[in-house]
Subunit: 465 residues, 2 copies
């Protein structure tokens, strides 16, 4: 999709492309994307969420110190005089800024918008530098784990609705991780960087992660090995009970709090009927700095082959957690607003659906046109325009070819190509008789309809489709 | 909405705000915005448009040389290594880039997205640095003025649908303007800059524009006076006929072409029944460089006072025109794709509707929740969660308070505050009897519904709303 261009004088050469890591969405892609958005928005609204929007850029300092090592991926705007600005990196920090600025302590909202990361793009796998996030968050002081459980219910509903195949929602808690690090002998100062290493376990085997911990990050081999034992654990209520009895972990205050809440979470998930798809997984760490409690990530599972029994993860499609300290970072008096939320990563979902659609025979319509206004004879442009104007004014989705004298065959072909189901044909005789010939493209059936009944007839016939 | 912040150590001070010229949209504003978008998208789809999306930034050179004097308002991204990027200034240039890059010669598409201009913001009047444009364009080689007339029909439909009050669509043609400049004695090299001066006539009186032409731009006073006579002309078919007879103008090839097409346009507008709202206005120039034919702009009219008969313009809410050369600027071989389009400026429309809603008593709902799941007694959280999960799974929009033991009064108050019409109340007795008490918030009527009929009953009662 590149083309070197030379101006007429050959002095102006440039590459015709979109910026690195970005793409255009054509009508077909947009039709798929719209389906995904509708499923997600319907779910968010089903859970009573309001919607907000924030600017695509923020003051640079608003984003400073929120993303840890990932801060280097933030796009800055050029200093053209005035404020220093950066493109948003996610929707969570702007949300926290919005809450603090408007002194909102209680809201359930969704926000669907593009975010920007100067990452290494892997576009075939749906990783871009400009991509949509679909965020749902609940802010406010509430009884423990009820909003957290609702976020997981939402992930479950959306992934089920979209029929992406089997999936698994991994959960953990930052407090359990921190407690685990403490009892394994990790020094306080290394909690975050060791947490970053654990976060790589979904892409790297334990041996590599271990050698990063010991070699690069200077952790003792004994501590690393103790971590290694914990992070291979995953399960459900049984594992929570087991760890609550763990002689070391149960002595750690943070871990105990985390495990108590995890137990409560699983009780609520059981009431929601979704505990079977949720795995308490001690290897889940999540990269961002701002999480303070429960964290989660949903992955799609794929049969390794047609006969294979084992499922392999094909990547994360949703993630989130609790961040009780972020709003306080923006408040002049440090007042905290507890928050929990989830972000649906639709680009990967979109890639999967796009590939699936390409492999299938399904033809996707990119318009909703109900009827083409056509004529069989010449010199009827005026009549076509008069009729289509009537249809538009009655709310009918209608098109007309922008030709003075189009051939009937071309008009019918246009319907075939674009999936328009009906053709309203005007001719000398029809005009004289006060009728319009309505043709059903699929069956070629033709019937004369009185002009005053045409709108109703088109509505009737296209509501069945 | 500013607050100086000090970090805990007092060393990190910053201003809590959105960047200059931008704003957040809260739930109420978003509810209004959604109404406007739905009206616009419905209209675009009624006319058979597909939808596309492009990245928020483009290669800097893609935007270079397209906007004339306005180029200085483009936001550039910081050079962080890699490509030089700019935020899009409108949706038209990215559309032309998209067509050339994908060798598309024929499309009718809409695109709704934010654009960025480092302009002087006037936020109370709806002028921002970040704002939405809603563009509809028709690309392709067609018979003259049919797509152009459809663009005006679309403006008429949208402004009528939104009930913004009286409006007027001004039309002109770049070829008529150029012809007029030629016959008035403007040198070729000054066409564009004199056109920019004419463009200011909606904000400045003729005398000031004249002195800019003569003083700043070095036009002869005689030429300026001749222009002055033309630009005060506006009318309909009568004026077109008059100018076609104009001894000077009718000798100019460009002007004659433009007037011929203008006549055709008015014929089509008459067939569409909208000629009455359209004024051929020789003072309309439009700022952007890329227009090549018909241009138009819609303004809202406002009664000067309750008794006043004269209408005054309160500003442009839509604009567009024909740009037959823009795609060719991107094509390696300069192949042209004729285009015509219209852009709806929704921020001003949005400002008007927002002010109107604030002045009215109307309470706007920001969620669509149908039912709150509540309990009258303590210790029923589990039962509430079980019931709401059933409702969500059946597609009912439902909320629950995130409290273990909320008071019934607080639950009812929440419904009053947020406009939730129904409450589903579970209690010991109801559970025993296999029913749920359904309360209508407005009337306080309560009725026991068998649990297996609840979903159907909620649907029945909320579909009437």
């Amino acid at each position: 999709m590149k083309a070197r261009l030379g101006g007429e004088e050959g002095k102006h050469k440039f590459v015709l492309k979109t910026p690195k890591g970005t793409r255009d969405y054509g009508p077909k892609q947009m039709a798929i994307r719209e389906r995904v958005f509708i499923a997600i928005i319907t779910c968010f609204k089903r859970h009573g969420a309001e919607v907000i929007d924030t600017p695509v850029f923020e003051l640079k300092e608003t984003l400073t110190g929120k993303y840890g090592e990932d801060s280097k991926l933030i796009y800055d705007l050029k200093d053209q005089g005035g404020e220093l600005l950066s493109l948003r990196y996610d929707l969570t920090v702007p949300f926290a800024r919005y809450l603090a600025m408007n002194k909102i302590t209680n809201i359930k909202r969704y926000h669907i918008a593009k975010v920007y990361r100067r990452d290494n793009p892997a576009m075939t796998r749906g990783r871009y530098r400009e991509f949509y996030q679909c965020d749902f968050d609940i802010a406010g002081q509430f009884d423990p784990m009820i909003p957290d459980a609702e976020c997981l219910k939402i992930v479950h509903e959306i992934l089920s609705d979209l029929q992406l195949g089997d999936f698994l929602i991994k959960v953990n808690d930052r407090r359990i991780l921190d407690g685990m690090f403490a009892v394994c002998g990790v020094p306080d100062s290394k909690f975050r960087t060791i947490c970053s290493s654990v976060d790589k376990l979904d892409k790297m085997p334990w041996e590599e992660v271990r050698s990063e911990m010991v070699g690069e990050k200077g952790l003792s081999p004994e501590a690393a090995d103790r971590i290694g034992e914990y992070v291979q654990l995953h399960g459900g209520m049984d594992l929570i009970e087991q760890l609550l009895q763990d002689p070391k972990l149960s002595q750690n205050k943070l871990a105990k709090e985390g495990l108590g809440d995890m137990k409560l979470l699983f009780e609520y998930l059981t009431l929601f009927g979704i505990a079977g798809k949720v795995s308490f997984d001690l290897s889940l760490a999540r990269g961002l700095d701002y999480y303070t409690g429960v964290i989660y990530e949903a992955v799609l599972l794929q049969q390794e082959n047609d006969h294979g029994e084992e499922s392999v993860s094909v990547g994360s499609v949703a993630g989130g957690g609790r961040y009780d300290g972020l709003v306080g970072m923006f408040d002049p008096k440090g007042r905290k607003v507890p928050c929990v939320g989830v972000s649906i990563g639709i680009e990967r979902i979109f890639s999967i659906l796009e590939q699936r659609l390409e492999a299938s025979e399904e033809k996707i319509r990119t318009t909703e046109t109900q009827v083409l206004v056509a004529s069989a004879q010449k010199k009827l442009l005026e009549e076509r325009l008069k009729l289509i104007s009537e249809l538009w004014d009655a709310g009918i989705k209608a098109e007309v070819l922008y030709k003075k004298n189009p051939k009937l065959l071309n008009q019918l072909q246009y319907c075939e190509d674009t999936g328009i189901p009906l053709v309203a044909i005007v001719g000398e005789q029809e005009l004289k008789d006060g009728v319009v010939k309505l043709r059903v493209v699929a069956t070629r059936e033709e019937v004369n309809i009185r002009r005053e009944s045409l709108v109703e007839e088109i509505r009737r016939r296209t509501s069945q489709l």
